[in-house]
Subunit: 265 residues, 2 copies
């Protein structure tokens, strides 16, 4: 990633990604703008997926979707977006099995595909940092640790599974502040779903995340657990649609929406 | 307390208290209306107390004060309020020492006295219950447990001391909800100041509250600690003003303000 990439507008960054010259993750780019998770499904699966997201809004907060099958524009999220080219890397799935990564999906697009964009934790992490809180995964320069829980999502058609959560540690007074801040942003996972004892939600060992990296807890800190955007991926794996495309981890759709537009108060 | 007292309007209840026929605590009366802590000080101490409250808004949230020394009306809090008669029982202090309780202060009122009314936890407890949460001290029918902490208040003139906190236990998911709800009500202590390990804020033993009663914690629950309206009483004891009047514990000023008017969003 060039240094100058961090100064680009979301539109400029998407144009650069479109040319294929930027294929890295988007963490830290276009500060202040909403980034989203991508999930593209055949029309036959789209209604059930939409219902799954509606029933499980904390892990699966929809911030944009195709106006009709075949729509790759998502005009509500930004100028001239082309979902086939404007994401640094994509993952392809057949019947729930990963088939590799590509830098565009021009050859894979079909007129029956429906795209969903889901809110992502980058937005609330930015709000936490703006308030002076330390976000440990960012301080340590690693991916946030994520864990499978025993919290069942509400099923919709073939989409089902347990919630995946991300974890960030805070001292209690900072945790209370983090809960307040994140409550303002329900469309990027909102307030945590749990804090404290990991076993209460079926996590055996904080040192062994199911996704992402281990991070350190300091004395006096408690772990806070947020509903995580990996949850819909787990549901897709379970649903085994014949075909599916997602973003590659960390390679998000960078939208034109300022993070502040997601704040409900 | 007569059964009918629970159906009175705040104005009607205050009139009944004024006649001397109701001298009990006001817990559970006039549901939906703000109740307040009372602190009356000589003018010479009023400015420092006001500053103390301003510097420590979580334990000392002012919801009303005399327009000028000698004002016992506090028109902003309700119709025809007379602070000398409309509270079931008062405590008298000389130089910080309790001098006993009286059912009115007509004989103690002076033209140099300034009255302060501070928000009270009854308001947020009602909001928690309305949301379906269990408030343990109410379920057990006892006073909320309160503890002296090592959290120093900001001093103002002779007013100083450590924060007193009240404690209510919740399971983590309910605790997160309680933090959200109470954040809406900054003038009745707002969000908790701590949760979890009591020793982190200087509380040696949850089983031995400094004020109020012990309550039970169930498995999986964590204690949440709120800034408490006993804090200004501790500060007054430390300041040792020659004369001071407060409400007796649980015997509050019942105002005409709906609790909802205190919600900031």
């Amino acid at each position: 990633m060039s240094l100058s990439a961090s100064l680009l507008s979301p539109y400029e960054l998407r144009q650069q990604i479109r040319t294929g010259s930027m294929t890295h993750n988007t963490s830290g780019l276009c500060a202040g703008y909403v980034q989203g998770n991508l999930c593209i499904l055949p029309e036959a699966y789209a209604n059930d997926f939409l219902k799954f997201c509606h029933l499980n809004p904390k892990p699966c907060p929809i911030i944009g979707m195709s106006e009709k099958p075949g729509d790759f524009r998502l005009k509500s999220l930004g100028q001239d977006i082309d979902l086939r080219t404007d994401i640094p890397q994509y993952k392809l799935f057949n019947h729930g099995q990963a088939q590799g990564q590509v830098v565009n999906i021009l050859d894979h697009w079909r007129d029956d595909l429906v795209a969903f964009v889901l809110g992502c934790s980058f937005s609330f992490e930015e709000a936490l940092i703006a308030d002076g809180l330390e976000v440990r995964n960012l301080t340590q320069g690693v991916n946030v640790p994520m864990y499978r829980t025993n919290i069942a999502c509400q099923a919709a058609g073939p989409f089902a599974g347990n919630m995946v959560v991300s974890m960030r540690p805070f001292k209690p007074a900072d945790a209370i502040r983090a809960i307040q801040i994140c409550s303002r942003f329900p469309s990027v996972h909102g307030a945590p779903v749990h804090f404290g004892d990991p076993r209460a939600i079926g996590i055996a060992n904080l040192e062994q995340p199911d996704f992402g990296d281990k991070i350190n807890l300091n004395p006096g800190e408690v772990p806070l657990f947020w509903a995580c955007g990996v949850t819909p991926q787990v549901a897709v794996e379970q649903a085994k649609p014949p075909f599916c495309i997602t973003h590659a981890p960390g390679c998000m759709l960078v939208t034109d929406l300022p993070n502040s537009t997601l704040a409900i108060f």
